[in-house]
């Protein structure tokens, strides 16, 4: 698989510019790469590294507002950056195909999957409609889609995310192209789904000997998929090497720092004293959305103690965020109760006193939607202080400045900014500051790091840990990311289908034997070992046999 006699794709000194604020800015700064037939190249980097732009550029495509400024892309002897539209268009589907990050958004909602699948094989005259449909069903089968005979006749919204991603891979394969660009195909998926998609993609690429560029920000994923890895940063190559070399002996500091990200671990805390009253307790909480037949939360009981972190982990739809919403009073439980400092907490937030509202604060996943884009930092942080604590004037300003220093942002620089003038990590810090401004007892952190690059996320985790110690805060830490749980949790709650599957101290949860679901969850987390995917799949086959 690694021989590269005559490269299929040769990219030389590729430069791409993007229009930003009415100025052309270089976003890809002279990248070279070659890709042999049947080879899989992993492109890895943080957001803004230019991975997708390079991937699309390799197809001779730039998004609106971008342009090729220099360099060349040779695909099988054809230079694409200067080729006319017609030439480039005719290569697509038949010789180069693309698999997008979000299959749900990238399938046209108006047509059935199979019609989208067969569109270009038929139009380009590769095969007849009937053959194309038969071939699609074969591909669906090969990609282990359930009901391969029928699934193509559904509309995209009727099919789950993991299945759509496989259907999209099948669609990319429709004309048996020479090259497929995979643009973060599993990023939006849950880990247990991801593992299925990864194995499906790998198998089919191997089967047809297709060359591929696999774009991701996840090292462990790329380790499973790629023959070679190229690390990108700020639109330029940091280094590239074959997968084993790259994993074991990275040369550049930046690469090393990426590899080292997962080193943070919060220091252990003393166990909870006997008889210590939890700050907040959920007792047998069952919640249901109005008009739905089944409860979304079923008999959930969790205690939150001051100074300790409860990590609530689970996949999408497990009810972890719903638990937070119940706690916030946004979804009042239909049975069970909530307790704050030993006293009953009103189920609905409108019925809660100011002090009760103050005690429980929330940090949201998407800092972009959590901060009012039209308010300045001063107002965003200052309002809870004024509202709950009655701070005004000079005292208020002082307090805001102190808090900004606490979250490691220079007050003079940031106090009058708008959220749009901040980076992702800075926004999340402001989100944290807004929660802290209320002087809460319990802070709910809802996937606060999942939208952030790893290095930035780690900074946030460190900050949260520091603040917890300083303010003796109780954290409810909602996440789907097991490594984050390992880093920060004191207690772990594993949820599935609105129920708690397993809960207890971190050490206890991570030490076998696990509950079956916990086991699945833990074993599905990719590891940096290139052999991990084969091993896990083999183990699972063995278990089910």
């Amino acid at each position: 698989m690694t021989e590269t006699q005559s490269p299929l794709l040769r990219v030389e000194n590729l430069q791409i510019e993007g229009l930003s604020e009415d100025r052309w800015k270089t976003i890809v700064k002279g990248v070279d790469l070659t890709l042999g037939k049947g080879e899989v190249l992993g492109l890895i980097g943080e957001s803004g590294a230019g991975k997708s732009t390079i991937g699309l550029g390799a197809m001779g495509y730039v998004r609106d507002g971008c342009r090729f400024s220099s360099g060349s892309v040779h695909f099988d002897g054809i230079e694409l950056t200067g080729a006319d539209r017609e030439t480039r268009r005719n290569l697509r589907s038949t010789r180069i195909a693309y698999v997008a990050q979000s299959a749900a958004a990238s399938f046209n909602p108006a047509f059935k999957l199979i019609n989208q699948h067969t569109e270009f094989p038929v139009r380009r005259g590769v095969m007849s409609r009937e053959d194309a449909q038969k071939d699609a069903i074969d591909l669906y089968r090969q990609l282990q889609l359930p009901n391969p005979e029928e699934i193509g006749f559904r509309y995209p919204h009727q099919v789950s995310g993991g299945q759509l991603q496989r259907a999209m891979t099948a669609m990319a394969m429709a004309c048996r192209p020479d090259l497929i660009i995979f643009d973060e195909p599993t990023t939006a998926l849950d880990v247990t789904t991801q593992i299925e998609v990864l194995s499906a993609i790998r198998n089919i690429v191997e089967e047809f000997g297709t060359s591929a560029i696999y774009i991701t920000h996840d090292l462990a994923v790329v380790a499973q998929m790629a023959d070679r890895i190229m690390v990108l940063r700020h639109g330029a190559e940091v280094e590239s090497a074959d997968t084993a070399t790259m994993l074991n002996a990275p040369q550049q500091d930046y690469t090393k720092s990426l590899w080292a990200v997962r080193s943070f671990k919060a220091a252990a805390k003393p166990a909870v004293a006997e008889g210590q009253v939890p700050v907040v307790s959920l007792r047998n909480v069952t919640a249901q959305y109005p008009g739905m037949s089944k409860p979304v939360l079923n008999d959930v009981s969790i205690d939150f103690h001051a100074g300790r972190t409860v990590a609530v982990v689970g996949e999408s739809g497990s009810g972890k965020s719903t638990t937070a919403r119940s706690l916030m009073g946004l979804l009042p439980p239909v049975s069970g109760n909530m307790v704050l400092n030993g006293a009953a907490l009103a189920p609905e937030f409108r019925k809660r006193s100011k002090a009760e509202l103050q005690a429980v604060q929330m940090i949201y996943q998407m800092a972009d939607t959590a901060l009012n884009p039209k308010q300045r930092i001063r107002d965003i942080i200052g309002r809870p202080m004024t509202y709950y604590r009655g701070l005004k004037g000079k005292q208020l300003t002082e307090e805001i400045r102190a808090l900004l220093r606490d979250i490691e942002l220079e007050p003079d620089q940031f106090i009058n900014r708008l959220p749009s003038e901040l980076s992702g990590g800075q926004k999340q810090r402001i989100g944290i500051a807004r929660a802290l401004a209320a002087s809460p007892r319990l802070v709910i952190c809802d996937e606060v790091t999942s939208a952030l690059d790893q290095l930035v996320a780690e900074g946030i985790l460190r900050l949260l840990d520091k603040l917890q110690r300083e303010h003796d805060l109780a954290y409810m830490f909602i996440t789907h990311d097991i490594s984050t749980v390992r880093a920060i949790a004191d207690e772990v709650v594993v949820m599935q289908h609105g129920r708690i599957v397993e809960q207890g101290a971190k050490a206890q949860i991570f030490t076998p034997p696990h509950a079956p679901y916990t086991d699945l969850l833990l074993s599905s987390v990719p590891e940096m070992d290139p052999g991990w995917l084969d091993r896990v799949l083999a183990e699972r086959v063995a278990q089910s046999a």
Partner: protein
């Protein structure tokens, strides 16, 4: 203001043209008495005199100076349309935000009431109300504002619905903030850009509606000069190929085109599309 000028510098030519035209109209409207060579309804000569240095645009059917009538027309027509649109927006957006934040029965009640008003033909409803309240400028403004507030309500509600689901609104709600605060501080600033664009469009519609009502004799009353009536008064001349009625109509058209250019530009900016 500097920011605006900066933005304007980068705007397409159509938007610059729009801004210049609108500013010009506003200046003319504000300084009408200073700019106009004659009194608003002063008879200065014979009817339909040709263009001269004294009567720049000639005279109208009664021998009043056309240029003067145009200038005062700007004041009456734009002033009334602007006031009407502002009232419609204040009332409509307040109600729309109200419905979006509170939802439930408040939303249902307001939305159904708006359904009722919208399903009655605009012109007939205006006719009924203007007959009830009399065809004065005050009732004209009130009635048209009420009718247009229903359209604004729908847009404001839709925009606010998109904002209400944002986490920062939820954060403010669970903080315990009151309704007024949420509407004013969380929703209004974020709803403003689409509403401002809408304001431009609605201003044009109000403007045309008032012209239409003037045409039917229900709008601005003589001798006040307004462009709709001026077209109407001289309309039959078109049959004979006379250009006089074209002037006020062109003034109406030019303003609406200009406003639309600005709106297009703002919508384009708001959409974030590069092409």
């Amino acid at each position: 203001m500097n920011g605006f000028l900066h933005e304007l510098g980068k705007a397409p030519l159509t938007a610059k043209f729009g801004v210049v035209v609108v500013l010009l109209y506003i200046l003319v409207a504000l300084f009408a008495p200073l700019l106009a060579p004659f009194g608003e309804s002063e008879v200065v000569g014979w009817e339909y005199q040709p263009w001269t240095t004294e009567n720049w645009l000639g005279t109208d059917s009664l021998g009043r100076d056309m240029a003067t009538r145009m200038i005062y027309g700007a004041r009456n027509t734009i002033g009334i349309a602007l006031l009407t649109t502002i009232i419609a927006f204040v009332v409509g957006s307040t109600a729309g935000f109200f419905a979006a934040v509170l939802q439930g029965w408040v939303d249902q009640l307001l939305s159904r009431a708006v359904d009722v008003v919208i399903s009655i033909p605009t012109l007939i409803f205006a006719l009924l109300l203007l007959t009830i309240f009399g065809a004065s400028v005050t009732s004209l403004i009130g009635v048209i504002a009420l009718i247009y507030a229903t359209f604004v309500y729908r847009i404001a509600r839709a925009v606010a619905m998109g904002i209400v689901v944002m986490d920062y609104v939820e954060a403010a709600q669970v903080r315990g903030e009151g309704l007024w605060w949420i509407m004013r501080k969380e929703i209004l600033p974020n709803a403003a850009p689409p509403l401002v664009a809408e304001f431009g469009l609605r201003f044009c519609f109000v403007f045309l509606t008032i012209s239409g009502l003037s045409f039917l004799g229900l709008g601005i009353q003589p001798p006040a000069a307004d462009w709709g009536s001026m077209v109407r008064e001289n309309a039959s001349l078109i049959t004979f190929g006379d250009l006089t009625p074209l002037i006020p109509a062109a003034a109406i058209g030019l303003l609406t085109v200009a406003v639309n250019f600005i709106v297009d530009w703002m919508l384009h900016k708001a959409s974030g599309l590069k092409t």
